[in-house]
Subunit: 315 residues, 2 copies
């Protein structure tokens, strides 16, 4: 179509994109896809009528549906953005309505489970390419999303063996055009990488906030007051969406339990070093861990500002 200057705009990458679940991630994809003109039409689908109404108010999509089977019709890209535990039900609902040649994807934090759960319902001619944008904040819902959430973040694709390379390239282009770097790996490897970089960190953050809440000899008011010593950083992560995180742990059980076992082993070793006053052992670990921080900052995955820039020096 010609724009105001009479020049032909490039056709959008997808004719019609359906997003199922308009939380932080789904609503950020809607905003980013609109901003970058990646979809001729965006269909927002959420079975929660309040969320659907809010998505309408925010004008995040061209149409808003509560019925997924209706919404996915004629779409050439469908992305599941609901909590991981909802995938089976959604796959059952939409399977018969998917258009031949459709790319079906998701944004979940576990990948072997989604392959296991969704594959049995895939109709002939659909390309199933699980995806995981490693980005987010502790906030939830359609108001929390924003178009730049995926800028310079990684998006991992885990296409099953035999997936059409053209379909993978189109999905890769979609993520790259909204700012992400794309990496491809197996679902199993993804689940181990994310167990250590995301799932275990969340589990121990939730755990320490729980431990703190249950202490008798230190009040909750004291825990809050003196949280600037380190604790408050954990509470941010422990404020993440409970349904999403319950589903992640239930669906990445093997990798989480295995790496949690190593974490526990290492923690017992530190505990023993403290009990026996082995200062050198503590010092060695505390020195070694700085290198990983530097690497993360150098790779642009973290701000170098002290204290995340929370404190702003005047002098």
């Amino acid at each position: 179509m010609p724009d105001q200057l009479g020049q032909a705009l490039p056709a959008p990458l997808f004719k019609s994109v359906a997003l199922i679940g308009l939380g932080l991630i789904g609503s950020s994809i809607a905003r980013a896809a609109k901003h970058k003109n990646l979809a001729g039409r965006i269909v927002a689908i959420d079975n929660n009528p309040d969320v659907a109404a809010r998505v309408r108010e925010l004008a995040l999509a061209d149409s808003v549906e509560t019925d997924a089977a209706l919404g996915v019709r004629d779409c050439d890209l469908v992305i599941l953005c609901a909590p991981v535990g909802a995938n089976v039900a959604i796959a059952q609902q939409i399977a018969a309505s998917l258009t031949p040649g459709v790319i079906l994807s998701d944004v979940g934090s576990v990948k072997t489970a989604v392959v296991r759960d969704v594959s049995p319902y895939l109709p002939e001619g659909a390309h199933f390419i699980p995806a995981h944008p490693v980005a987010g904040t502790e906030q939830s819902g359609p108001d929390a999303g924003f178009a730049t959430l995926f800028m310079n973040r990684w998006c991992i694709l885990t296409p099953p063996f035999g997936t059409s390379p053209e379909a993978v390239d189109r999905l890769r282009a979609f993520w790259e055009m909204i700012g992400a770097n794309v990496e491809i790996m197996s679902p199993e490897h993804h689940d181990r990488v994310l167990a250590i970089t995301s799932h275990i960190p969340h589990l121990i953050a939730y755990n320490i906030v729980g431990t703190a809440a249950d202490l008798e000899e230190v009040t909750q008011s004291e825990v809050m007051k003196f949280s600037a010593g380190g604790f408050r950083d954990f509470t941010r992560i422990a404020a993440s969406d409970p349904t999403m995180w319950r589903d992640i742990f239930l669906n990445n059980k093997e990798a989480v339990l295995e790496i949690l076992g190593r974490f526990q082993e290492d923690l017992f070793s530190l505990q023993r070093a403290i009990r026996w006053g082995e200062g050198d052992k503590l010092f060695d670990l505390f020195t070694r861990t700085r290198a990983i921080r530097r690497g993360i900052v150098e790779q642009g995955q973290e701000t170098a500002a002290p204290d995340f820039g929370r404190t702003r020096p005047e002098s």
Copy 2:
């Protein structure tokens, strides 16, 4: 003394303040005390000649010494700002040079140990009032400090039984004038409160970064790339000064081991819930932890901006 308009400026709270150890905290106190005119004279003492030279370059004090015994002469406030493990040696060095009536304080993160280590060397007529400003960043050294570090943070005083109330009031005034809120508690209670709000969070952050570094099946490069899923927050804390933190763990052994035991117990319970698929148990904890986050934000100890304000929405 009259200022340029001929008005009498109020006399500074202390005649002469000695700061021993010019790291993040010591150099921040120097900056804040100067900014607020709380000291007629500031003496910076650091036994590391490089640090002393840098403090001179930065003009953080009226005089800079490497010899603590020389530096503390005629001072009415002396604050130990070196790592906790250095307290005994410093106390021995300065004891004979302290002026009668001096207030001797510190900024360490453990308080029973400093009372145990320093008290034996206190000369007659010195007021020993341990203090702990609960503030900091992951950075170290005299360049890392800034005058507003203590603004709206808590400073805990743990005066031993029988300490002069006037001396406590003067030290309280000092901290309040550089922006802190002051709370008084026993050293033992302090050490338990900080074990949960600061020491255990640091220990598990160091630990998970160590676990991640040692995995064979996930590379360090992958850990860095995909750290935005939660891990990177832990690396900030695990970039804190190794000497300082070694000393904290060696000197708050009892409280750390006790609360670490509870943390482990709770973590095993979560581990078991994951293994047996007890979703409700996970969901309940993940919901409960949000309230503590809200409290911390409401009390002004944390920013409410998502992701610590690291992501800046454009739309």
